[in-house]
Amino acid sequence: MIALRPGRWLTTSAVLALLAVTGWLSRTTFVTVPLLQERLPAPLLIAIAVAAVATTPLHETFPDLVRTLPRARTVHALGVGAVLVLACASMYPALATSTRGTVDQQVALPLFLLLLGVALVGVALFGRATPLIVLALGLTTLPVMTAPGNPVTATLAALPDVVAATMMLGAAALLLARGPRREHAR
C-alpha cells in the first residue's frame, strides 16, 4: 500500500473505476456537445478520459531513488502491463454492450486504442504533461471528425481494431524499451 500511494495507483484506479461505471451507465447515451451539430455517443468521451488518465502511474515518482532499485525495470514492465489491463477493463463496460450502429460508435474503440498508444509514447517522450496532450488530441478530434466529409472519421472507421491494438502494443513496447521520461528533480 505504501508503494501504491506514491505510485498514484490508488487514485488512478479509483478514477478509472468511476469512468467504468459512468461508461456502463451511459453506454447507449448520446450527448449534446457544443461546437458539434450532431449528438455524440458517450463512449467516445469515456474513451478520451480513460486514455488520458490510465497511464498516470507510469510517470516517475522518485526519479533518483528509482534508479537505485535493482528491480526497477521489472516493476516498470509490470506497471505497463497493469495499466493496459486497467485501461481495457475500464473501457470494456462502455464498449462491449453498446450498440455499434453509427459510425461515431464504431470509431470509439480504434480512437481509444490510438489515444492509449499516444499516452504510452507520451510517458516515454513528453513526461507528465502526457494526460493533457491526450486530452488535447481527443477533444480536437471530436469537432474535426464530426465535420461533413472529413477524412478522420473515415480513416478511423476503416482502421481494423486489430491494427489499432497492434499500434497500441507497439507504443507499449517503445515505452518498455525507453522507460518513462526523466523528470527534473525539484
Binding site: R8, P34, L35, T56, A129, L132, I133, L139, T140, P148
Partner: protein
C-alpha cells in the same frame, strides 16, 4: 513585470501557445461555409474556446500543481506580494491561450469580409468580451482545481470539469458558461441578444473572481476584505445565473432583426442584410437558370425570399434555399438551385399543421426535373411531355393549388 517574465519562461505557456495554434487551425478549417455570413464566421472562430478553455484550465492546474510546491506555497503566503506571483502565472497562461483564440476569430472574420460578408463590429466586440471572460473563468477554475487537488491528475480533472460542465448545464437552458460561440450553421438576420450577453458576461466574470478568491484563500493569500467579497460574488453569480436562465427565449443567445436587402433583377433575391453575399450568388445562378427555362415556357416569380426565420413568407414570393456549406465556388449547389426554382411560392399549406403531401411531392419531382434539365447544355424542348408537365406543375405550385397539379410520375420513374 518580473513575475510575468519569469513565468513566461518557466511555465508551460510556450507549449500551450504552440499547441493551441495548431488546434485552432485544425478546428477552423474542419468546416466550410461560415465565410458566407459574418455572424457565423465570428461565432465559428470564437467557438474554438470549447476546446481551448478545458485545455487552458488543465494546463493552469498542471502548472499550479507542478510549481506551487508546499515549500513554495509557504514562501508565497509569507511574501508581501505573494498573490501577485500566483496571479502572474495564471495571466501568462491565459494570454498564451487567448492569443491563438483571438487570432483564429480574427482570421475567420477577415475571411468572411473577403467573401463580402463582414461581421458587424458590435457583434465582433461582443464575442471578444465574451471570449476574454470565458478564458479568464476557465483559467480560474484551473487555478482552483490545481490548489485543491494535490495530484498529477489535477490537470485532467480541471480540463474535464471545464469541458463537461457546460454540457451538463445545457438542459437547464444555460449556454455560454466557460465556452463561447460555436455556431455550426448560418444565423441570418440575428444579432446577439443584449440581455443574454450581459448575463453571460456576469456569470463568467463572477465565476472567474470567485474561483480566484477561493484559490488565493486556499494558498493562504487571504484578501483584506474578509468574507464580504466572496459573499458578494456568490450573490452576483446566483443573480446572473437566474437572469441567464430566465432570458426569453432562454436558450436563444441571438435575437432577430428586420433589415432586408434585395439583389438582382430577374429574379430579385431578398433576405436579411447579413445574407447579401449568398443572395448575390443565388441571384446570378437563378438569373442564368430562369433565362434558359423561361424560353421553354416556364414563368417564375419576380422575387425569391431567403428561407430564414426572420423573413416573412408569402405567396407572392418564391422561397430561396441556399446552404452555404454546399456552395461550390461562387455557385449554388444544383440541388439548392433546383429546389428554389421548384418553390415559386411560400404556400400557407407549408406552414400549417397538416402536411401538404401532394404539393410537396410535386415540388420534389419538379426539383429533380430542374436538376436534370439544367445539368446539360442542350436546349430544353418546350413540346416535350415532361417539359409540358413541369410547366403545369410550376404554375400549380405558384398558385398553391394542389387540384391543378398534372398527373406526372417523373419522381417515381
Amino acid at each position: 513585470m518580473t513575475a510575468i517574465r519569469a513565468w513566461a519562461l518557466r511555465s508551460s505557456a510556450g507549449w500551450l501557445f504552440g499547441g493551441l495554434c495548431v488546434i485552432v487551425a485544425a478546428v477552423i478549417v474542419s468546416r466550410s461555409g461560415w465565410q458566407w455570413q459574418g455572424q457565423w464566421a465570428v461565432s465559428w472562430g470564437a467557438g474554438t474556446s470549447i476546446v481551448l478553455s478545458p485545455l487552458l484550465a488543465g494546463v493552469v492546474a498542471f502548472d499550479v500543481h507542478r510549481f506551487l510546491t508546499p515549500g513554495l506555497r509557504l514562501l508565497t503566503a509569507s511574501a508581501q506580494r505573494g498573490a501577485r506571483s500566483v496571479v502572474a502565472l495564471v495571466v501568462v497562461l491565459t494570454v498564451a491561450a487567448a492569443v491563438p483564440w483571438f487570432a483564429g476569430m480574427s482570421t475567420t472574420s477577415v475571411r468572411a469580409a473577403a467573401t463580402g460578408a463582414p461581421p458587424l463590429m458590435t457583434t465582433w466586440l461582443v464575442y471578444v468580451a465574451l471570449g476574454v471572460a470565458v478564458l479568464g473563468a476557465a483559467a480560474s477554475v484551473g487555478l482552483l482545481v490545481g490548489t485543491l487537488v494535490p495530484h498529477l491528475l489535477a490537470g485532467p480533472a480541471a480540463a474535464a470539469l471545464v469541458y463537461v460542465g457546460p454540457i451538463l448545464v445545457l438542459p437547464l437552458g444555460l449556454q455560454g458558461i466557460l465556452s463561447v460561440g460555436g455556431a455550426t450553421g448560418p444565423t441570418y438576420g440575428m444579432v446577439p441578444n443584449p440581455t443574454v450577453v450581459a448575463a453571460t458576461l456576469a456569470v463568467n466574470l463572477s465565476l472567474m473572481a470567485l474561483c480566484s478568491v477561493a484559490a488565493l484563500g486556499r494558498l493562504g493569500l487571504r484578501p483584506s476584505f474578509g468574507k464580504a467579497l466572496p459573499i458578494a460574488l456568490v450573490i452576483v453569480l446566483a443573480v446572473s445565473l437566474v437572469a441567464l436562465v430566465s432570458s426569453d427565449p432562454r436558450t436563444r443567445s441571438l435575437t432577430g432583426t428586420t433589415d432586408v436587402v434585395c439583389t438582382g433583377t430577374s429574379p430579385e433575391t431578398c433576405g436579411p442584410t447579413d445574407a447579401s453575399a449568398v443572395l448575390e450568388v443565388a441571384s446570378r445562378d437563378l438569373e442564368d437558370a430562369s433565362s434558359r427555362l423561361t424560353a421553354a415556357g416556364f414563368t417564375f416569380p419576380d422575387e425569391y425570399a431567403l428561407d430564414a426565420p426572420t423573413m416573412p413568407a408569402d405567396e407572392t414570393r418564391g422561397l430561396l434555399f441556399v446552404d452555404p456549406t454546399t456552395l461550390q465556388g461562387d455557385h449554388m449547389s444544383e440541388w439548392d438551385r433546383g429546389l428554389t426554382l421548384a418553390t415559386p411560392a411560400a404556400c400557407p399549406e407549408f406552414y400549417g399543421d397538416a402536411v401538404p403531401v401532394e404539393l410537396l411531392d410535386a415540388q420534389a419531382a419538379l426539383s429533380l426535373w430542374f436538376v436534370a434539365a439544367l445539368s446539360t447544355s442542350e436546349d430544353i424542348a418546350p413540346t416535350d411531355p415532361d417539359t409540358v408537365a413541369a410547366v403545369s406543375t410550376l404554375d400549380a405550385l405558384r398558385a398553391c393549388d394542389s387540384s391543378a397539379l398534372p398527373d406526372w410520375d417523373y419522381a417515381t420513374r
